[in-house]
Symmetry: C2
């Protein structure tokens, strides 16, 4: 039987699973995770996992395989996944959290399916309508939390205020921050900007007596500048902002490589640049911020990028363990309850 | 009296106006605009413009000052600007286009005020509800057009389809492209993704027989990758995507500079890197894509970034002249009419 902190892992989720998953765990246990007492429930095909575990001794020692042959594909619609995916590796990974056999579930599989299964099995916290997906974003001094990045396409003002308190709790748990500042993403900083939903959320957050460090509206460029620690937005805008920034970072990388190509001197430069580029790449490496969390559920579920490699997956494992070690779930409950009580007191209608 | 192509310029609009405006014109006439027959109507304070023009001989030779002391501030709300801004430099710049004394108006002033004044004076093309603001975006091979980037916070499916045909006409006019590809910005590429408005626009564009090169849904990362030439989105999402990408580019610049700092060897590297960095900076220089156009009006109005310098302003002047030389306005009319006729034929209700 496993002891210590248990992470429940969908070993079959992700573009290169299960290979990438096992390599990611081994990478984690060899680097950041060295000496950590965490253990893993690996949900997936025993026949495929056994040979991989044979080459990953640290992971094998800390893991227990829960066999299932059923998997969810990246193309399955959430409704299909719910109908046909019971007892799949993803389903079982979440089920272990529900059954309290694990603290946290982690999957690099299909986001929509993972959300649907998590919602169905773990259920939403009282008063919360749908989970929000919170991503990490590199900024000048540290990392900020952006939510929602894709789970809620249409939101109301009440959801945006819930995102604010859940994002605050998440930033506190991961970065031990005292009072992370919160911004509401908009197309300008003047009061009249944006649509009715955003203005209602802005008014509600401005009036709150919950001690939120609310900084008002922020704009797109503020996300990377790092004006605030938590950026609140709807899932449509957040998803597009996140992917647009990834695209821009990639474009600059391409342009830089092209600028360094050409003649002998350019090639020498590439060589001499290696160290500076290494440092730069480390800071903007998307793998270092891999791992988004579903917030608002009665249990923690982490979503790794489906196309990540072992280093990125190891980072998601690290986030899972950092969260499991805190009283994050309780902190969210306390803040959400306080928010909803305040809603009732002031008669807030979103 | 002026002859040749006439550009009507709000000489008092922009953070550093009128200085930056006159320097931008002089820069344009010294570089890209050398030998161009364009002439300029400069709307603004004669007392401030005369000494600046004395130091800008090429601009002085090709310009006529239309005196007004009234200006619109960057903080004025559109409604205030409309009430109090008649006969301001911005108002007069647009009025000259209405009176056919100029082909195009250009301002680096307050975006909301410029849109409101343009709409009131020039009026919308038949069937179009509000202007769309189209921006240029650097991509791997060339430049793409993104619209709307801030004029329309809430849109319906009919507006999104109008953006598609107007963006197509704009790309054709600026880049002489035969059949620019068009993508609809969404949070995924599967049919069921997005909200009802986007899905309705997708269906409408997919069914159109107008010969649009419609590529379907694109995601945030596709904007910089350059999957398509024209990216269609609502003004809220477009504005945030644009500013988020600017912020990410700036962050990478900061990280790169930090990576190059430190010891003697790093400093040598900075020096050796100068050429590669110069080439890189040229390609991602936001000034090279400065100049957004309001589409859907009976007349062309260009908006320069308020904080740009002379190089950026010169680029906006260049776009204005490129557009004025084409049959862009007629091309938009033809395509919008065809779209609206098709709407009627198929009984499209947005």
């Amino acid at each position: 039987m496993l002891d210590g902190l248990v992470i429940s892992i969908d070993a079959m989720g992700g573009d290169e699973a299960p290979d990438m998953v096992i390599k990611g765990l081994e990478y984690f246990l060899t680097h950041e995770g060295k000496g950590r007492r965490a253990r893993f429930l690996l949900h997936g095909d025993q026949a495929k996992l056994t040979p991989l575990l044979a080459k990953a001794p640290r992971t094998r020692e800390r893991s227990e395989v829960v066999h299932t042959e059923k998997t969810i594909s990246m193309d399955d619609k959430p409704s299909q996944a719910l109908r046909r995916g019971k007892d799949s590796s993803m389903w079982n990974a979440v089920a272990a959290v529900k059954a309290k056999r694990a603290e946290i579930a982690l999957s690099a599989g299909n986001t929509g399916a993972l959300m649907a299964m998590s919602k169905l099995q773990l259920r939403m916290k009282q008063g919360v309508q749908r989970p929000a997906l919170a991503a990490l974003w590199p900024k000048e001094n540290g990392v900020s939390v952006v939510l929602d990045v894709g789970a809620n396409i249409d939101v109301d003002a009440a959801q945006l205020t819930e995102f604010a308190v859940m994002g605050e709790a998440y930033h506190k748990a991961l970065y031990k921050s005292e009072s992370p500042s919160i911004g509401l993403l908009n197309v300008g900083t003047e009061d009249q900007k944006g649509n009715a939903v955003i203005r209602a959320a802005h008014e509600r957050l401005s009036e709150s007596q919950l001690g939120l460090n609310y900084a008002g509206y922020v704009e797109g460029n503020d996300i990377s500048t790092g004006t605030v620690d938590v950026i609140v937005t709807d899932g449509f805008t957040g998803n597009i902002a996140l992917k647009t920034a990834e695209g821009m970072a990639k474009l600059i990388g391409t342009f830089f490589n092209e600028a360094l190509q050409g003649n002998f001197w350019s090639k020498m430069l590439t060589f001499l640049n290696a160290y500076a580029l290494f440092k730069l790449k480390r800071r903007i490496d998307p793998r270092r911020v891999n791992g988004a969390v579903f917030l608002g559920l009665n249990g923690i579920v982490i979503k790794s990028h489906g196309g990540t490699d072992r280093v990125g997956f190891a980072n998601a494992v690290n986030i899972a363990i950092l969260l499991a070690e805190t009283d994050f779930m309780h902190a969210i409950d306390v803040r959400l309850d306080a928010l909803h009580d305040e809603d009732d007191n002031i008669g807030f209608i979103p």
